[in-house]
């Protein structure tokens, strides 16, 4: 209960802070829109229609959730370090990984705003009418995906405590995850060696669930996998963060000075 309250309050305040920032708030909303626009244009050019276009619309709108998390998760702790609050987070008598959950969850929430914006944009500019067969399933799938992507972001954020340049790696994995997790390209169309990687990445299951719900199939099995993979990230993060914080204390990388 306490943990839930901690995550809830911290998430709300982080969200408040982020939406006041041009980079985290405005850009996270706009940037995926450029990619979505290009992709909508490509599908129109290729004369896509019906389920293919719907699938593209779902995928490209969900891109924003990952985009908001991947580019900012690794940068967020750099910001905390710069403003001198990273030390205060480490000092808090809570598992460090737990404190990062509201952080990355707030980024994913901003990503969810961009999802709505992209869907509206697709409808207004490209006339893509989104008819969702199972609205409740779709909504649950979006919420679970936001959570799962937030958890993946937490893993990235943790790696950045020790490595100051992790933000560059964070930005670099934006596009590979779009590709590998089947946001726009069916995972079965990717080379065989990539597929195991897709399977362990929670966004793969989240996007599959959204698509299933939109098409009127059952999203629940995919959602189960999504939650399972995300929960395993939490477990990994707990252990890794303990080691990382210890290492940061040994190497004095928590503060700027």
């Amino acid at each position: 209960m306490r943990t839930l309250r901690l995550v809830g309050v911290a998430w709300w305040l982080q969200l408040k802070m982020r939406s006041r920032s041009a980079f985290d708030g405005l850009l996270s909303l706009l940037y995926p829109g450029f990619f979505a626009t290009t992709i909508f244009m490509m599908f129109k050019q290729g004369d896509a229609a019906g389920p293919a276009l719907l699938s593209a619309a779902v995928g490209s709108s969900a891109m924003g959730i990952w985009s908001a998390v991947s580019t900012t998760a690794a940068f967020a702790l750099q910001m905390e370090r710069r403003q001198g609050t990273l030390e205060l987070l480490v000092l808090a008598p809570q598992p460090f990984a737990l404190l990062l959950v509201p952080l990355t969850l707030s980024m994913a929430t901003i990503g969810a705003y961009s999802m709505i914006a992209t869907l509206l944009w697709g409808r207004l500019a490209f006339g893509i009418h989104l008819t969702i067969a199972d609205p409740l399933g779709f909504l649950v799938a979006v919420v679970v995906t936001v959570f799962a992507i937030g958890m993946l972001g937490m893993l990235i954020a943790i790696s950045s405590i020790r490595y100051r340049f992790a933000w560059a790696l964070g930005s670099a994995i934006e596009m590979p995850v779009w590709l590998i997790c089947g946001f726009l390209v069916a995972v079965s169309d990717l080379p065989a060696w990539v597929r195991p990687l897709s399977a362990v990445l929670s966004p793969t299951w989240g996007v599959a669930a959204m698509r299933a719900a939109a098409n009127g199939q059952s999203p629940w099995a995919d959602l189960g996998w999504c939650v399972l993979t995300a929960a395993s990230y939490g477990l990994v993060a707990m252990f890794v963060s303990r080691w990382m914080v210890h290492s940061a204390r040994a190497h004095a990388t928590l503060a700027l000075s």
Binding site: A22, F23, L26, L27, L30, Y31, G33, F34, F35, T37, T38, I39, M41, M42, F43, Q45, G46, D47, A48, A52, A56, Y163, F165, A168, L169, S171, A172, E174, M175, P176, W178, L179, L184, V185, A186, D189, L190
Partner: protein, 261 residues
């Protein structure tokens, strides 16, 4: 002579000091991996969308990545000075503005050029897209033209940064606009009329088109006009940037609006 010194030495120093991306931890993911991932992403999306033209996506996405250093490093020359608190010193210095800023542009242009060339070569090898050796020289010229013109736009961005704080946000938005409009993933000819007009005024559009033509076997002389248009746009943006810098500098002294904090 002094102007030459400011041009070369000052430019390189500021590039290294302000744009501290010269660590391999940043260099490799930002300039080598991301362009490749972008190429693969759009090649695969193209296949899914029913446009199987790997070479088209390879060229567009490789070349457009030259814009990343050009826009960000150049746009950051003012923002970075402000962050380190050296902006007033720069403004107060007696150095001539044109060599000062053009000097900052040179390493950036080289950086952009190398990023695009690496992405193109590696991408073509990985995707097994054939680009005949006879076309390489011409393509290099086209990529250089793109890097120069984008840096011109970056210089305009640097000038705007005297007034706008969030340079990184601005550079990202410009990059997004280039990806949509410059014919990177959708040929300009397939766009609605108003988008074609916008595309014509952007750097990259002409250079990417020239690169496509060159790769398809056109001679450098055939695309000379297109490349000149590309360079002309770059000069136009750079000129606007320098003029704006001068005006902002004058204004900020007159009205004490120089945002140096």
């Amino acid at each position: 002579m002094n102007s030459l010194r400011i041009f070369f030495i000052g430019g390189l120093t500021s590039y290294r000091a302000l744009f501290h991306w010269l660590s391999p931890w940043i260099l490799v993911p930002t300039f080598l991996l991301t362009p490749l991932f972008q190429i693969f992403l759009f090649v695969y999306i193209g296949r899914t969308a029913g446009i199987s033209d790997d070479r088209f996506f390879l060229i567009g996405n490789a070349v457009v990545n030259a814009a990343v250093p050009c826009l960000f490093a150049m746009g950051n020359t003012i923002g970075g000075e402000r962050n380190t608190g050296t902006l007033p010193l720069l403004i107060a210095s007696p150095a001539k503005r044109v060599p000062l800023f053009l000097g900052r542009a040179l390493p950036v242009i080289v950086n952009g050029f190398l990023v695009a060339v690496f992405a193109l070569i590696t991408g073509s090898l990985l995707l097994r897209v054939d680009i005949p050796p006879a076309t390489w020289g011409g393509i290099a010229v086209a990529i250089a033209a793109c890097s120069i013109s984008c840096t011109g736009l970056g210089l305009l961005g640097a000038a705007v940064a005297l007034r706008v704080r969030e340079t990184a946000v601005m550079s990202n938005i410009v990059l997004g606009i280039l990806i949509v409009f410059a014919g990177v993933n959708v040929p300009v000819g397939a766009m609605p009329g108003w988008m074609q007009v916008v595309a014509g005024w952007l750097p990259m559009t002409h250079g990417i088109r020239a690169t496509h033509d060159l790769a398809a076997g056109a001679a450098l002389t055939d695309v000379a006009g297109t490349l000149l248009a590309e360079l002309g746009l770059g000069a136009l943006y750079a000129g606007l940037g320098l003029a704006l810098l001068r005006w902002f500098e004058y204004e900020s002294r007159a009205r004490a609006t120089l945002d140096t904090a």
